[in-house]
Symmetry: C2
Subunit: 364 residues, 2 copies
């Protein structure tokens, strides 16, 4: 069953549709568009689609240094100011498409079809791009939402358990960030692997409808929307510290566990707050699995000194203070600034230690 809703943005409203067979609808609606697609998915395009830009879904492809090559392809395919771009793929394809569509001839309209659960349940709305530059991860980027987002449930079946669980962590993050009642309502939709199309659509719909509130309230990431960084500052350090051996979605789940441990360490939570935050953590742990059923069968050993270095260098911090999204009081999220003192650094390190121990990931 198809459903749709709109997102308001400063550059006009855009639509989000969820359902089956949407790829066929896009192709029928845009036979002459330029299709930018994850090279591994190229076979979903019919032969009638001849204007194609294939993207390898890796960190190099989403670097500023690689943009001229992609834009040159647009030019060679004859794109002008009225051309339409259709992007099909996960986060890297979304980042490249957002950035390129925003600057090609000062902006062309585009359609996005996310193919990962992380894209479907979270990043496909909000209009952000994150672009690497000269080895700095996500140093540049911008805001340029597509004119429509079409989420075809058929792509769910192409995802493995790690990809689904990573996406579910972002979905859980959004709902928990909105408040404990929203998180409880989300859990009613049975977010777990494996997912069938109808189950997936309900989970994705709830996450996106919740995220809609954040991005309509704070489009440019100045206030409320910053709460959606929950799990990210702690998680990015794990991603980078494992040399990306731990994927973004999984790292966000672990990052939420560490953030809760930090809040406990720094005594920010009331007993009610602890019970709400622990409920989230038990959900994360259940999705990560244990023993032979672990999603990441052999997690890499995590070097705490390296993690702390990566954490220190995160661009979200200020010169004098760490900026972290953590649960506080009765468990609602807040953005806190903690001075860069030895005591705070020790709390952060202890939070990593106890967080990684809680999920039985090796550290050293």
């Amino acid at each position: 069953m198809q459903e749709s809703f709109n997102i308001a943005s400063s550059s006009g409203s855009y639509s989000v549709a969820l359902g089956s067979d949407l790829l066929a609808q896009v192709i029928a609606a845009h036979p002459d568009a330029i299709y930018m697609i994850d090279e591994r998915l190229e076979s979903v395009l019919p032969d009638s689609i001849t204007k194609r830009i294939l993207i390898t879904a890796n960190e190099i492809s989403k670097s500023l240094e690689c943009m001229p090559e992609v834009i040159l392809k647009l030019r060679e395919l004859g794109a002008n100011r009225t051309s339409h771009l259709v992007a099909i793929g996960g986060g890297v394809i979304q980042d490249v498409a957002t950035f390129v569509a925003s600057i090609y001839m000062r902006g062309i309209p585009w359609t996005y079809m996310p193919t990962t659960l992380l894209g479907m349940a979270d990043s496909c709305i909000g209009g952000k791009s994150s672009i690497n530059m000269l080895g700095y991860k996500n140093l540049v980027g911008n805001f340029y939402p597509p004119v429509d987002v079409l989420i075809d449930m058929a792509f769910i079946q192409t995802l493995n358990e790690e990809q689904v669980v990573g996406g579910l962590f972002e979905a859980a993050k959004i709902c928990y960030a909105r408040g404990y009642p929203e998180f409880l309502a989300y859990l009613q939709e049975s977010p777990a692997y494996p997912m069938q199309a109808d189950n997936a659509q309900r989970v994705i719909s709830r996450a996106l409808q919740t995220k809609k509130w954040f991005i309509e309230t704070d489009e440019f990431d100045q206030n409320e929307r910053l709460l959606l960084n929950f799990g990210h500052t702690f998680g990015h350090a794990i991603e980078a510290g494992s040399d990306f051996g731990i994927t973004h979605g999984i790292a966000v789940g672990i990052g939420m566990v560490v953030a809760v441990e930090y809040a406990k360490q720094a005594q920010l939570l009331t007993p009610v707050g602890i019970s709400h935050a622990e409920h989230l953590i038990s959900h994360v742990k259940a999705l990560l699995g244990e023993g032979l059923k672990r999603v990441v069968a052999h997690p890499p050993r995590i070097d705490l000194a390296l993690i702390m270095e990566k954490f220190n260098n995160d661009k979200k911090h200020r010169t004098e203070a760490y900026r972290m999204v953590v649960p506080k009081g009765d468990g609602n999220l807040v953005l806190i600034s903690a001075p860069k003192t030895d005591a705070v650094r020790r709390d952060i390190e202890l939070a990593y230690q106890s967080g990684l121990a809680a999920i039985a990931y090796p550290q050293g």
Copy 2:
């Protein structure tokens, strides 16, 4: 005497101030900002300003390939999401600053101080950037206005006659585009070289207040604002066809002459329209000067075949039709689509011939 007004934009309103001593005010207000400045102007900065990025004002500096180097300097100077960028210079510096400020950590606030008349009277508001890529001029760009624009009349005295006249052509274009009465009112401000500070401020203020209507009515260049391309499609071909021996501002003046010739050739004008358009042309011719008083003392010989090739490749055209801003009827500007037929191409070529003849520029 200082004056100021606001411009409304989708990302919030920004202020424009005109007056003297504004550079000193900016430096007092932003002692810790990062200053991006035309390297030829560096001496205007006091020693207390230590965070500097020097830009060579040429076409290479505003290419997408050069952006990583500039952004790396921002990073090395310690810029974070709350850092402020102050850009001081002409069009190239504005283009680089707009683009870089828009994407660095997804956007940082910036202040712009234009130092050319073209920047002061036209491009400093509207928020556009134009960036070259792999040899394609202005193929990419975006919209990202500064938080304030400060126009210090002291910079007027650093400009030569060709630079002043080029800026006046853009100012005349804006006022004519708004309508013949606005153009007559503009002429009352005595736009001519040399200009004193008070005279310059009145000319600039009138041009900007007129442009304000266009960009507030049509921020993203979809309808009314497109009329400000008057002189540009014809002019860009002259710029490119002379290998940039004819500067942008001068080329826009010549482009307006050619556009009027086209309208006459294609019989688009009533007798009233011809008289209004001729009034503009006589203003352009007066500014270009003649004989020994010519602004461009030795204009390069213009190769018509090359000009036609450049005109054909302009990115503003559609696949099937040329798009041109020309006076029509009683002389008001319109955006027309003319089919790419031999007859239309002949009219365009004849317009170039008679336009260049009217200003006594050599052609062949």
